[in-house]
Symmetry: C2
Subunit: 212 residues, 2 copies
């Protein structure tokens, strides 16, 4: 994640806000209306002091002793994260993973809409994958530019991922979510985040008993 020098809030704080938002939405689904930094912290494995400090960067959102109004805090965090609008997202790679992403229902109501599915493979172009017609990657630059798309997902095999990233950067994409298990090289004005299941599994093995 390239840090903006002019941005005074540490990137690691920004990275925790979506986790707070997810936990708040779950509390809301459970019918809870007010929460505390303590309750949030217990759900997330983050100290209540850290949560209060993180939120204080944006004004705090709560009064001492009365907790956080969940609906209010959700709205504020959505605004901070700029997901009080819906972002259209381009997916590159119409294989198994791209198909799974295009069917994924976890984007609903969380600020994103998968809007295009691209592939380089001639045999896939024009085919229907869920509600998408697979488009040629040669059309990508035109589509991205005409629709002012800023976010793309890379769902191609590792050996094609850098080439796809280069095409996305050239087309003007500003944020890439990379599912391929390689490190992408991009200019400073482009952000990359990685879907890396191994990081999550290594977090859990710490707590497991060694195998016999």
């Amino acid at each position: 994640m390239p840090l903006k020098l002019e941005n005074r809030i540490p990137d690691i704080v920004i990275g925790r806000l979506p986790l707070y938002l997810r936990a708040l939405n779950r509390l809301k689904q459970e019918g809870i209306e007010v929460t505390s930094s303590h309750e949030l912290g217990q759900r997330l494995g983050i100290s209540s002091a850290q949560i209060r400090k993180d939120l204080s960067h944006f004004g705090g959102f709560g009064k001492q002793g009365t907790g956080y109004q969940i609906n209010f805090l959700i709205t504020k965090l959505q605004s901070v994260l700029k997901i009080n609008q819906r972002w259209q997202v381009a997916v590159v790679g119409a294989g198994n993973l791209g198909s799974a992403i295009s069917h994924y229902r976890g984007f609903q109501d969380r600020g994103f809409e998968i809007a295009w599915l691209f592939d380089a493979d001639e045999s896939k172009i024009g085919q229907q994958v869920g509600r998408f017609t697979v488009q040629a990657i040669s059309e990508l630059k035109k589509v991205i530019s005409e629709n002012k798309i800023q976010i793309a997902m890379v769902a191609v095999p590792a050996e094609q991922a850098q080439e796809v990233a280069d095409i996305l950067v050239d087309a003007g994409i500003r944020a890439i979510l990379n599912y391929a298990p390689i490190n992408l090289t991009v200019p400073d004005h482009v952000m990359v985040q990685y879907i890396d299941p191994v990081v999550h599994m290594q977090h859990m093995t710490y707590y497991l008993d060694e195998n016999a």
Copy 2:
């Protein structure tokens, strides 16, 4: 992530260790042999003080002023995270996502091996998906127990994920990586981590220009 009360190291610290390990492996791939908390911090958007503090829980691994020997630190972190062994993993769900996971090459050399692929769908059982023969979920408990499997991935649609989690818990699974966009309810002795692309995208939208 259920916190072990007897464990004195905060879970959020444990969660950063796989990120350190990934960054160290990338430095190593670049031919670098020694690094510093400053260099690691810059790559990860985490302060060097935080990194030194995190590593100090495990002995520090470096001498003041001389930096970290990358190979040494990698070996130590692998040992702390118990991935100096290979963990066999069961995947439930042989649809697009399960297929993508079973073809994913990012597990290699990082402590994990996908070893079984299960599905509840009669029409998929016995079919070949990559190097796997899809097995019936009715066989899951027996396979998990006989092979002492502790880790499973849930790659089924949202509405089936809780039922699959219940089956996994009953079979003795201790750690679940859930790709479905729902919160799983499991007993305290079972850990769940979530693959949630939205969390990563919301992290990036903070830095994007609002759409016109």
